[in-house]
Amino acid sequence: MGATVTTTATNQTTWGGGNEPLGASYGKLMMWYFILSDSLTFCGFLVGYGFSRYKFMESWPIADEVFNHFPFLHGVDAPMYYVALMTFILIFSSVTMVLAVDAGHQMKRNKVAFYMFLTIIGGLVFLGSQAWEWKNFIKGSYGAVETRGGAILQFVGEDGKQIALADFAVELQEDRVLHSRDNGVWFSGESSIPTYSLEEVKAGFEANPNVRIRTQFIDETKHKIILSREESAEYLKEAVYVVEGANLVRNEYGHKLFGDFFFFITGFHGFHVFTGILINTIVFFNVLLGTYDRRGSYEMVEKGGLYWHFVDLVWVFVFTFFYLV
C-alpha cells in the first residue's frame, strides 16, 4: 500500500487523514487487535482449566484413556491418533489459506478461489471430526458408577484394563420406567435412564470374581489406582448412580469439571471454526464475483486468513493442554 505511506512530518499530513499507523491498513490492524483480545479470552479458559486441574491434580482423568477412538477401528485402543489427524487437517487448511493469500497478492483470481474452496472444505472436515469426537465423548464407551460423595468408580477386568458395564452386568428382570414430568411434580424429570441399573451392576460384580474397581486417584507411576477385590466390594456399597457417557452434570471419565471444560473449550473453539468457515465462504463468493478484482486488492482474503490462522493457533494450544499434557 505504498500510495498511502506518509513520511512528511508536517501537521497537515499527520492529521489530515490517510495515515496508516504501524504500517498496516485499518482493517488489518483491527483484525490483529480483535485476535489479541480473543486470544486472551481463550487464555482465560485454558488457565481456568489449568486451575481446576492443579486443584484436583491427583484425581484428574488421563486424556489418552478417554480419547482413544478412531473411525472404523471399533474397540481398538487408539489414543491420540484421531486428534492428531484433526490437527493435521487444520494445519493443512491453514496452508491452503496462506496459499490463497499468496495468490491474492499476485491478483490471480482463479487460484485464490481454488485455495479458498480447499480451505472451506478443510474447515468443514474439521468440524465434522469434532462432532464425531463429541458424539463418542457423550455416548461413552465403558460406563461407571458414581458414589454418594461424587467420585467415579470404573471397572477393570483381570488384566487391569477397563471393561464396559455390558461386559459383566447381569440382566435382572426389573422394569425401571423413565421418570417424566407428567408422572410427578412438574420440575422433576430425567432425560434418560442408564442401560443397566445399579442393582444389575452390583449383581454383575458379585457374579464375576475378576472384576475390580479403579478409582480416580493416580499413584506414583501416574496410573489410576486399582483396588483389591475386597476394597472394591466395600467401595461399591457407596455407589448411588450408574453413569454412562458424559453430560454437563456428570461423566464416566472422572472429575465432573473435566467434562464441563471439554464441552466449553472445544465447543467455543468449534464455534470459532464455524464462524471462520462462514467468513471464508463469504470471501469465497466475493472472489468468484470479482469484488476484489474490481477493488484492486485482495486484502479481505488476508484479513479472513488472519482469523482462520488464529483458529488454528488456538487449536494448537487446545490440543496440547487437553490431549497431550
Partner: protein
Amino acid sequence: MAATGVEHKSNKKRIWTVFVIMSLITIVEVILGIYKPDSLHMTDILHLSLLNWIFIILTIVKAYYIMWAFMHLEGESAGLRWSVVGTLSFLCVYMIALILIEGNYIFDVFNNDFYKWIF
C-alpha cells in the same frame, strides 16, 4: 501485505517448509504422547514433568511459526509485532503464573491441612 509494493514470488517455498516443520513437530508430539517414556514422564522440573515441558515448548514453537509465517508477522512493522505479541505474552504469562500457583495452593490445602472445613 509485505512492506513494499514489490510482489514476493518465493513465498510458496517458505509456506511448504513451515508446513513440513509443523507436521514433524506434531508427529513428535504424538509419538511422545503415546509412548510417554518414563525418563521424561517421571522427572519433574518445577512441579511439571519434563515430558509436559517438551510439549509446551513444542507448542510455542508451533505458535511462533503460525504467527510469523502464516499470519505474516515477519513482514509487519516491529511496532505491530510488539503491540500484539508483547501484550499477549505478558498478560498470559502473568495470568498463568498467578492462577496456577493459586490452584496448587488449594490442592495443598485440600490434601495437607487440617482446617479445610473453613476453606
